[in-house]
């Protein structure tokens, strides 16, 4: 189904892509949101610890002057908890997706370039893993390893790696048949040099878009695991777990689930919009990269 129009991007110099991106309305929404999340994650250790202390005399109070977003079921400041939770989100988007990106790219390059039975074997394994609904596989991995942030990160990396592998392999296959690649090969350019110098830069655009989409999927997965109680463990704050606490107290406090959920929503929307904007900035008809969940 992939159409071969990717050549345009490789010839394009880098600058226009970036400036086009910065002029895009979607990116102008997404980038500040992501910057704010990162900033919150960085700033959270500096926050006054008193706002995070439990206080059974101010349980589930609504938004007010002392606590702009209200307090939670143990009397902690919701805004402070949201700021704390940003750290988890940043780690998921960078560490888990980063690991999957590196691992998946290596696997994809290897399978796509090497071909043959090894490729077939790897791709069947990838197919096997991709056949699991993402959350079902993540749930099983976390159930096997035990709950917690580290294991949630592993689970997310495990479910995301095959996705990268497949996309990269697809790109490699379509590139391999190109004349300039075969030509370089014939001229005697070593395989790895060829990969590094020609294929990887070519892949960068595709991977950028895909990584942004996977970051949004990964954040949803982590939030869902935490919501089910299998991700980040208390007292560490996680947006998903906060929404879960909020749904337990929906009658008593509307605000407890609404604000952390909004934080998740904005972050995911930012990644989705960034992916869209980046794709358009690269101006290429990429293979379908819609995120499955």
């Amino acid at each position: 189904m992939a159409t071969d129009t990717t050549t345009a991007t490789t010839r394009e110099p880098r600058r226009p892509v970036l400036s086009r991106l910065l002029r895009d309305r979607r990116a102008r929404f997404a980038l500040p949101v992501l910057a704010a999340v990162t900033l919150a994650a960085a700033a959270s250790p500096l926050l006054d610890t008193r706002s995070r202390a439990t206080d059974t005399d101010r349980l589930l109070s609504g938004p007010g002057a002392a606590h702009p977003l209200g307090t939670d079921e143990l009397g902690r400041d919701v805004l402070a908890r949201i700021v704390d939770g940003a750290g988890v989100t940043v780690v998921v988007a960078t560490v888990a997706v980063g690991a999957a990106l590196v691992l998946g790219t290596l696997l994809g390059l290897f399978a796509g370039y090497r071909g043959g039975w090894l490729d077939a074997l790897l791709m069947r394994a990838v197919d096997g893993l991709l056949a699991f609904p993402l959350l079902v596989l993540a749930l099983t991995v976390v159930a096997a390893l035990g709950p917690g942030l580290r294991n949630a990160l592993i689970a997310i990396a495990v479910v995301t790696t095959p996705r990268f592998a497949r996309v990269v392999r697809g790109e490699v296959l379509s590139l391999r048949t190109r004349e300039w690649v075969s030509a370089a090969h014939i001229v005697g350019v070593p395989t790895w040099a060829l990969l590094r110098r020609h294929l990887l830069p070519h892949l960068a655009g595709t991977l950028g878009v895909f990584a942004a989409l996977q970051a949004s999927t990964a954040i949803i997965a982590e939030a869902s695991l935490s919501f089910l109680g299998l991700g980040v463990q208390p007292p560490q704050a996680s947006w998903g777990a906060m929404v879960a606490a909020g749904t337990d107290h929906l009658d008593a406090s509307w605000s407890l689930s609404v604000f952390p959920g909004l934080a998740i929503l904005l972050t995911i929307a930012a990644f989705n919009l960034l992916a869209d904007a980046l794709r358009d900035a690269l101006d290429a008809h990429r293979p379908d990269l819609d995120p499955g969940r």
Binding site: M1, R124, A125, D127, G128, L129, L130, A131, F132, P133, L134, L135, V136, L139, T140, V141, A143, A144, L145, G146, S216, I220, A223, S224, F227, L228, G240, V243, A244, G246, T247, L250, D251, W254, S257, V258, G261, I264, L265, L266, I268, A269, N272, L273, D276, D288, D290, P291, G292, R293
Partner: protein, 313 residues
């Protein structure tokens, strides 16, 4: 075409094998002792040891795997450790809720997504287009559990229009069933709506740019007719494909959604099975789900190949 068909089906077998190995091994890693849940906290160590032997947990791993896979191949998914019911009949019990949820969600997605996508494409670069596309991104970016919490908060707790959760079988009380299915179906359908909308808009725009549409326009055919008859028909192929490929995502969505709305479906079966370490049930249920996803993908690919003569194999 026949060769392709055979090849695709043959490819399924190693994939299913890998799926079952992964599934089996992962679940054997689960910590904790299933006999504690089955016998209750006051059982003696001897009772628990005896039960382990009864359940075949003493056998080596490879033999447990062969036993299980042998059973699966002969249609026997084993028995629940917790209730001793045949896993197959438990799954049959749970399928209706999930299938109903999935179907209503898909129906909603198609009924809303396609017209909205067409509208966005026709009114391209207008406020309508921006609003619809924006809503699509919003729907894609809202985690299911969050949407569910908001819907319950507004419709069940604030407006008191529907019960917050629970399930009644359709055969028992059709109206009660549908009333309780509305919020879960909207929750599950939200992302599918967005995907259908984006895809419809995208492929319709592409189709409207094709030569034959321009020709049609040049011959003076009315625009509405061009859109609905010619362009849409061709744009539908990728829409159908992309919708069908959402089946895996749909299953992920049902897991969370069923848990929140406490629907007795496959999702809650898997989640509760993991929590209570009822491995035969989890293995059976996940295997059924994965097989179903693979089959839908296969059928989609075949239909696509059949519909689109440009693709050769």
């Amino acid at each position: 075409m026949i060769g392709y068909l055979v090849r695709r089906i043959a490819q399924l077998i190693p994939v299913l094998f890998i799926v079952s190995v992964v599934l089996f091994l992962l679940l054997r890693l689960l910590p904790g002792d299933p006999t504690a849940e089955i016998l209750g906290q006051e059982a003696s160590a001897a009772d628990r040891a005896a039960l382990r032997a009864d359940l075949g947990l003493d056998a080596p791993l490879w033999q447990q795997f062969l036993d299980w896979i042998g059973g699966v191949l002969t249609g026997d998914l084993g028995r629940s450790w917790l209730t001793d019911e045949p896993v197959a009949s438990v799954i049959v019990d749970r399928l209706p809720a999930t299938v109903e949820l999935g179907l209503i969600a898909l129906l909603l997605a198609v009924a809303i997504g396609i017209p909205a996508g067409v509208l966005a494409a026709v009114r391209r670069r207008t406020a309508t287009d921006s609003a619809l596309t924006g809503l699509g991104v919003l729907a894609l970016s809202t985690p299911h559990f969050y949407l569910a919490a908001l819907l319950i908060g507004v419709f069940a707790i604030w407006l008191r229009l529907v019960p917050p959760s629970g399930y009644v079988a359709f055969t028992e009380d059709p109206v009660g069933n549908l009333v309780r299915m509305v919020l879960p179906a909207v929750t599950v359908g939200s992302t599918v709506v967005a995907v259908v909308l984006r895809q419809t808009r995208g492929s319709l725009l592409a189709a409207l740019g094709e030569d034959y549409i321009r020709t049609a326009e040049a011959t003076g055919l009315r625009r509405r007719r061009i859109v609905t008859v010619y362009a849409l028909r061709n744009a539908m192929v990728p829409v159908v494909t992309v919708t069908a490929l959402q089946i895996g995502a749909l299953m992920s969505a049902t897991v969370v959604t069923e848990t929140i709305f406490t629907l007795p479906g496959m999702g809650t079966l898997i989640v509760n099975g993991i929590f209570s370490r009822d491995l035969p049930v989890v293995q059976g249920a996940v295997l059924v789900v994965v097989t179903f996803v693979l089959l839908v993908n296969l059928v989609t690919d075949l239909v696509y190949a059949w519909l689109d003569p440009r693709i050769t194999y």
